[in-house]
Subunit: 692 residues, 2 copies
């Protein structure tokens, strides 16, 4: 009987949660009786959340929640907290309520990752004050570049009906320190500013508020004309100005702690101040003036490029640097990490270090638009770590991006969300790690990808080194693997038209914008491959500070990983030089030293093949460690890796066989050979987003 009862209990326990990823990294075992949590402060909604999380999930000593008095004033709440243990208790203290909440989640994280020690003495302060998700969610329920189902926001049901997932979403964000969300697409519908929709946004804001999350919205620059009925949306027109002031006042009436606007203007067909002969600064400052008195900000995107101008990689810099110093003090320019568009690997955007008298915030892409979407396991923290650590040299050596963007009057960072209405939120289990990593790095860009992978794995799966250590290997290897099988050596934008999933380096769409075609970027010809951005080419290198510009300009000193980003190399150019960074791909066959002489063509073949081998290694490692976790998630990830392994071969063959039509050279016989025919790969209807 005992045995039967136990069996039934275990069956039931298993049945409680489908292992569909819906619990994210928040898998606390609830206490049978509540933990002791004492707070002498008034139990506000935010403190109530902190208290309830600890009472339900904390397994240790008595906890005191303590609000410290502070003389500090800040336009943004101070999220710092400290956790100090005493003999029989632990004290979490902060000057803010949300600081207590972050402290609570921090303590629970230590517990879940088995990092708790007897003596705790922690003091945490976030490096970025504004840690914001950008949702590219449309009002019709679709998500641009979303791979996890439709939009989480049920606009049709709001404001009356509140999905329980809104609160779960807020909780997940709070648990990793995210404190802002832009709920609608940067390609914004003007309708978001109607009272009808503002009421819906308010309903979300009310759910998010206890979790310390502010709401922001993306606005369409032509809103005054489109929904206001004005004859113009010229930012210097007094009617336009009045309309925005009035609209902003309305918003703050509805949502008193509203965060501000995100604006994509004069980019990819969106309206903007240039339509009226005004500058980005004119446009941004006009909106900023309306928001200023309410404490709101404008995040103005620098993602602009003109179909008729020169090298796309140069354009944001060329447009924005002349405006440096002209932006209002509540305008922050939001800049993508690289100068093109979230490619598998880009050098950092030279606006970092280029804008010196302008507030600037990084925009990272959590959704894997260009990195296998929700199908490929690609952990992005190594890419972001690389980005944060990049030295711009704008104030001499040591002017790291993470340093210069966290020492401003407003320190902010945005991540384009990968969240949808799918049960597991992100379309695949490991995609959740990128949401997690964004939050953690926004809090502290000094965290390493390895630390983040390890703690995410421990919380999401099991806190056992036998699992987390090999699984961390998979995650840390995954970005370089993706680069290798997709576009190594500085290649970029070889993606299929529109959906950006598979390879289409041959893509040629009649009448398409030249800079929307892969050929614009790879520039393959009978001589060689790559985009010449040196001083003899587009001179994009000049946008970087010395000594970077000279390093990038000279193939002898340019890092191998950026070779074809900055150079058009000849097929038989010897790629490896003493100063070039060695790539592990050359060691695949177990040789201790990289070959000293190989050509661009050979290096390309090496890298693509190494990418395939890396995915196969990821499969093997998962096969080994994944068996320690639940079958449901093990098999789901195993299946995803199969797709990735097939896709890696697809990418390799598509790119190598296409470039071979220019190089006229054979694939070196000492490496694995293609298995597809170029002509067959060209016939794939990429509309369905998959090879098979």
């Amino acid at each position: 009987m005992k045995f039967l009862q136990l069996t039934l209990f275990l069956m039931f326990a298993q049945a409680v949660y489908a292992e569909d990823g819906s619990r994210l990294w928040l898998r606390y075992q609830e206490n049978s009786s509540r933990a002791e949590v004492i707070c002498k402060h008034k139990i506000t909604p935010t403190i109530a959340v902190a208290k309830q999380e600890l009472e339900s999930n904390w397994k240790g000593r008595k906890i005191y929640l303590q609000i410290l008095s502070s003389k500090k004033t800040s336009p943004h709440p101070d999220d710092s907290f400290s956790i100090i243990s005493k003999a029989n208790e632990i004290v979490i203290s902060s000057i803010s309520e949300v600081g207590l909440l972050y402290g609570a989640y921090h303590l629970l994280r230590l517990q879940e990752t088995a990092q708790l020690t007897d003596n705790v003495n922690i003091s945490e302060t976030p490096k970025y004050n504004l840690r914001i998700l950008n949702h590219w969610d449309n009002l019709d329920g679709t998500v641009e570049r979303g791979y996890a189902g439709g939009s989480l926001w049920q606009w049709n049901e709001l404001p009356e009906n509140l999905s329980p997932r809104y609160r779960q979403y807020a909780r997940a964000n709070a648990s990793i320190g995210i404190n802002g969300t832009v709920v609608n697409n940067v390609n914004a519908s003007p309708n978001i500013l109607t009272t009808h929709y503002l009421q819906k946004v308010k309903a979300l804001a009310d759910v998010f508020r206890p979790y310390g999350i502010k709401i922001y919205i993306s606005v369409n620059f032509s809103s005054p004309a489109i929904i206001g009925g004005l004859p113009t949306s010229d930012p210097l027109n007094s009617e336009t100005i009045a309309w925005w002031h009035s609209k902003v006042a309305e918003i703050y009436t509805i949502i008193p702690d509203f965060g501000g606007f995100l604006v994509k203007a004069n980019s990819e067909g969106q309206p903007g101040p240039q339509d009226f002969g005004r500058t980005h600064a004119d446009g941004a400052n006009m909106l900023a003036a309306a928001l200023k008195k309410h404490g709101g900000i404008v995040m103005w995107r620098a993602f602009v490029y003109n179909p008729t101008a020169g090298d796309r990689a140069k354009q944001a810099f060329d447009e924005f640097t002349p405006l440096d110093g002209l932006f209002a003090d509540n305008v922050i320019v939001q800049v993508k990490n690289g100068p093109i568009d979230f490619q598998p690997r880009e050098p950092f955007n030279p606006l970092f270090g280029g804008l010196k008298k302008t507030l600037i915030m990084p925009e990272l892409q959590i959704t894997q638009e260009y990195l296998g979407q929700s199908k490929h396991l690609v952990f992005l923290a190594p890419m972001w770590q690389d980005f944060f650590e990049s030295d711009t040299y704008c104030n001499g050596q040591g002017s790291l991006i993470k340093t210069i963007t966290t020492n401003q009057k407003i320190n902010a960072i945005a991540g384009v969300a990968n969240i949808g209405e799918d049960a597991n939120w992100c379309g695949s289990h490991f995609a959740q790690a990128n949401w997690y990593a964004f939050g953690r790095m926004a809090w502290n860009p000094n965290l390493t990808a390895e630390q983040i992978a390890d703690e995410w794995l421990a919380q999401t799966f099991i806190p056992d080194k036998n699992f987390t250590s090999p699984a961390t290997d998979i995650m840390l290897q995954s970005w370089e693997a993706c680069i290798n099988y997709m576009m190594p050596l500085g290649l970029h934008h070889l993606f299929a038209w529109e959906h950006h999933y598979g390879p289409q380096p041959w893509c040629d769409i009649p009448d398409a914008r030249e800079d929307w075609l892969p050929k614009y970027y790879h520039r393959a010809d009978s001589a060689g491959l790559g985009f010449d951005r040196t001083t003899s080419g587009s001179n994009a290198v000049a946008q970087y500070h010395s000594p970077l510009r000279e390093q990038f300009d000279d193939i002898k000193t340019c890092p191998e990983k950026y070779a074809l980003w900055f150079h058009h190399l000849k097929w038989n150019d010897t790629l490896y030089t003493e100063s070039a960074q060695k790539s592990s791909c050359y060691f695949e066959n177990g040789s201790e030293s990289a070959p000293q002489n190989f050509t661009l063509w050979e290096a390309l073949c090496y890298h693509y093949n190494y990418g395939v081998a890396q995915v196969r290694q990821m499969q093997k490692t998962w096969q080994q460690c994944g068996q320690m976790i639940d079958t449901e998630r093990f098999v789901r990830v195993q299946s995803g890796l199969k797709t990735q392994a097939r896709d890696a071969m697809w990418w390799r063959d598509a790119c190598l066989l296409y470039f071979q039509t220019f190089s006229k050279q054979q694939i070196p016989f000492n490496m694995e050979q293609p298995v597809y025919e170029l002509e067959d790969l060209k016939k794939i209807n990429l509309g369905n987003g998959s090879l098979n």
Copy 2:
């Protein structure tokens, strides 16, 4: 100008022959002036061919063609010849005209393969007297199990119009010693025996005759009833007997050197003597009697199995051994190499050594019905070498199949042709090697697969060791590779329904004959895998002579390659034993010694993965050596190997993932993991014969 002329000449020279394989292994550079060839004998059509081939293509000393007088009489011409060099001449001599022709082709082969030495002293006698192709060509122009287009025979245009390819076909066969051809399918249309069709057959016989090739036909046992209008085809009925005697007489009037009949009776729905309560011997002897006075023979197939009887592997033996000694002396029983049906690997058919008082001839399958058809590069000579060398122990140790089948009154061998109307004859370049190898081994089963591969490559491509040596490696490895990725360890018949190209171990067709379904053969269940043919199972082992029957019966002594042919093993049975044959697959990771303990499941995973690795190695090797030959054939073979590499992964994943549903074990993590999902593979419409 000189340069331009040379260039134009080279362009022209290239344009003369499309490298489509149409020239087979016969790529002599024609002499600008004729070589000196002297023959004092009357220039018969056969001698004319020999003389012309040498005059056009021989690059050496003066040649004498010499017919030797002989007292020998034989129902079959003696094809022996000798080649002896003198200071200023070479003498080819034979007692027969066709012997001179074989001598001429032999000498040219030595020339083309760069094997000629100053002193030539060669004496050649074929081991099999009758070296026969079996065409499974239907009168409607289709070819059963043909993968090289339709039938070579243009029945609609015969006898008036003679395709030039008939002569080319005869020449190719003569060049490798083939001296007989059964022109129609063993599943025979009775119409072949009508005067209308016999006139067409005669036209072919007339073309083939100068090349020493006799015509045979497959006959339908019910022909007397179907085309003769008789009430019965009972072989003991006097009217039936009279009809056949009359029909045979008619044939010999039309084709005086007609070879005889091939009969598939009481097999897979074909009519036969058992329909009338008579035995195979009754039926065969009746036909033999009609042919006897004309010098014709009956080749009676032993490929019989009954849907309701026991183990299919046992049935031919059980049906034919009771008739041993009852067949007429011009009946020869034609036996497939293995007891099932041309599987990638089978142990030899126990009728070899089982029939002791009956003429018996091997039937090999040149067309790769079960070995990737014309798409996979699989060189069959290693399989045939293995077969010829098999020791039946019927007269004690040393009773090799090649010995016992070449020491009879009639020594014959048949190969099911892979020839069709495609320009390159066989559907792919390397498939031609199997036609070639069959002819060479039928002449001399002591030739090794390596020798044959090497000389075929030298003639078909280039006689350069830098090419032939690695290409020979590919060919010699290909059979084991195919076994490994399709059905290692003695597995058999996991093929898809009907077309036999892809994997379908799960195949289940309602109301299908049980012995036409893979499950009948692999017998996978939760306990293990394989067909128990031991003394505790179907006892098929008892059909072999000692000590084979004991060896096969005991898993400790049964060769690993036949493990699942003879045993149903448990998934966790330790497979490797001291006496089991080691497979190179276990050394994939470069370890010097095979692991000492692995289970059936692990061994299966090793083998399937090794098969994939072997195909990739074949690709690499081809990439290296293939660049020495013309681009057209290099690329065509390269493309075929890509298909094979994809298919190998398909086979691996289909079989391992299917068997995994029984074994419930994971693929070992130290090997490459599957890239497909079983459910997706099950959905493949195998009707189109390909994965992609």
